[in-house]
Symmetry: C2
Subunit: 385 residues, 2 copies
């Protein structure tokens, strides 16, 4: 597994499970790092039991663990501790997403590891972080989405709450952790000093709400859900068409006039109630109804080229299938192939980190079976069992 | 502005505007990099005109540009080009989020810059990337949210589309760009080689949908919106209470039994139709109604401690105000203060990248006024105007 990428030569020991930590090490593997998953014997990473399955193989696991190696170690057994420590001695980064305190109980907390492995960067991703009164609370993606405020600004006013359709709690934390680990690697390359990275899913939710937090602290008004519209620009939202919905983003007066023209509605352009963005925003509901009365006469696919040609930013609301059929997906290699020895050919999300100095091949190595790399790793470490 | 952080000593020339690029350089500034915004004379970054305003100052701009420096340069004027090139000669990274081709027209595309500044990392964040047939298309956060599929899996089935309440199109791209830039810095520290980073907002949307893409390519079933529930675990969703809603995540049979107990409903525990997770998932709607009939008897604040004490993961659906009042926010310094010379004291989202080797002070330097650092920068560069 010789990887090519900006992190080539970097070895990551990955104790993390399910999603937030594994997403971080997934990105690092895509960037060329060598990622060695250290999993509990027997079941391994919990995600190995998450569907959908193909020939008994978790494709959930296969997607986010592709290109990693696996060794099963019982960190409470002396023999396996010896192997684990030999791995740490050769590693650059350790990543874990246990509940705070777990690593300390195992004898592998930052305070113990840092003196022994002074160049080892330690990255922890947890629900609430390694400090503070709620540090020890468990967290799940959905619980954190609720706690962090993102659900309160997503959805339609007066309607039941909406979860973000992807695991923004986990994936968000995974992304921020990767930003921090890579920065810690820059620092270590320059100074030799390693640091502990402590990223909390809850903190990351707040960080993602940057703009909403600023609006609240500045205005004192608690932001609410806005459906699919812009808070202060009109028309700038999702509109119903004959067969679904589309987005039209007419960000200024000139674009609004062009839109009225494209819709064949000069009366809307002339109407005094829609003359300025401020007036349009005040009369948003009636204007939306007027626009939709036209849009509902044709399907989305007929409207897109027409409105696009008029120079107005717009687009469909694609399903996942439609999104993957977009010509940029193939052109940008955003759907890659993995040959899994058990599940067969899998098509998975590609790597959005395009770097001119490195290849972005259309295939990726598969995720490892539990403990698949044990023999080779032991040989490499010079350990006989 | 001496910064402390893992990227201390790194200088970033930031041509980016509004959000995706500025969010990347915001994170780099938080990590200790020196970020010099190069803005067009007159108006500067478009975001300077985005509200809410305090004393005429854009707090939208202030939030995401804190701690940066500013110089206004007309990249089409020879004199300013001279200054710009002197800046590039001392920089480690340039970040831009123009439409592809803009930098080439200015004579500052990667192909021209790389031979002249071989250690300069070039990061571009654009709507569709620098390659492919749709490369030159403009993109807006909302248009990309529609195109990339995330809106199709967010919201309630049969209801109008829902935009993610924060700018996941821009912020997502900003995060991935930062991951890539930091990795490129690691590579350059090791080898001296600089690389071009080409991140597309659209690609990032697909990357964020990793799990949904895998589910679609594996099963052939197009994922749809699920409201606020887990696709395959029940009860694991948002439930109405007397005064709002809360999340309960009872991920297995044991937790389900504990929940029935906490709700005072042993009949639900015994009911054959709710015996296994599979049965509960099939009868999700009726079970939800049963659970809500109990939850609606008390407010969320009464239920949380009760259900929490039973050991069941749960939580409120916080507003932004409630999220900021969580005790972890103060403990983790997730709301920081900026003293803006014009707008006064601003409270902004903190930095979730907690690193043991570096301080995380409760205050941050303000965002710069347009061209505020011109005189000092020229002096530093030894240029007289």
């Amino acid at each position: 597994m010789t990887a090519s990428g900006p992190l080539a030569g970097i070895t990551v020991i990955d104790l993390s499970r399910i999603l937030a930590g594994p997403y971080c090490t997934f990105l690092m593997a895509e960037l060329g790092a060598r990622v060695i998953k250290v999993e509990p014997p027997g079941k391994g990473d919990d995600a190995r039991e998450y569907g959908p399955f193909v020939n008994g193989r978790s494709t959930y696991f296969a997607s986010v663990n592709r290109g990693k190696e696996s060794i099963a170690l019982d960190l409470k057994s002396a023999g396996d501790q010896c192997i684990f420590e030999a791995l740490l001695a050769r590693a650059d980064v350790i990543v874990e997403n246990f509940r705070p305190g777990t690593m300390e109980k195992l004898g592998y907390g930052w305070e113990r590891l840092h003196p022994r492995y002074p160049r080892l960067i330690y990255a922890a991703t947890s629900g609430f972080g390694h400090t503070g009164p709620f540090s020890h609370y468990p967290a799940y993606d959905m619980v954190v989405q609720g706690l962090g405020g993102i659900m309160s600004i997503t959805g339609h006013p007066g309607q039941p709450p909406v979860r973000i359709g992807m695991s923004i709690g986990d994936i968000g934390a995974g992304l921020y952790t990767t930003v921090a680990v890579n920065a810690a690697l820059v620092h270590r390359e320059k100074t030799g000093e390693a640091t502990k990275v402590d990223v909390a899913m809850f903190d990351c939710q707040l960080a993602l709400l940057e703009n909403a937090i600023m609006r609240y602290t500045v205005t004192g008004t608690v932001p609410g859900p806005l459906g699919a519209r812009h808070p202060s620009i009109t028309p700038f939202e999702a509109f119903a068409t004959a067969d679904g919905a589309m987005i039209i983003a007419a960000g200024n007066d000139a674009l609004y006039l062009k839109l009225c023209d494209a819709l064949g509605r000069p009366d809307l352009a002339a109407a005094p109630g829609y003359k300025t963005n401020d007036l349009r925003s005040r009369n948003q509901a009636t204007l939306k109804a007027e626009i939709e009365s036209e849009l509902k006469k044709q399907p989305t696919s007929a409207w897109i080229p027409l409105i696009e040609r008029a120079g107005i930013p717009c687009g469909p609301i694609n399903t996942v299938a439609q999104a993957l059929a977009h010509p940029q997906v193939e052109a940008r290699n955003m759907l890659v192939t993995t040959e899994d020895p058990v599940a067969g050919t899998l098509r998975l999300a590609g790597n959005p980190l395009k770097l001119s100095a490195f290849p972005d091949p259309p295939t990726r190595p598969p995720a490892p079976a539990l403990d698949a790399d044990r023999a080779r790793l032991l040989k490499e470490l010079g350990i006989e069992e």
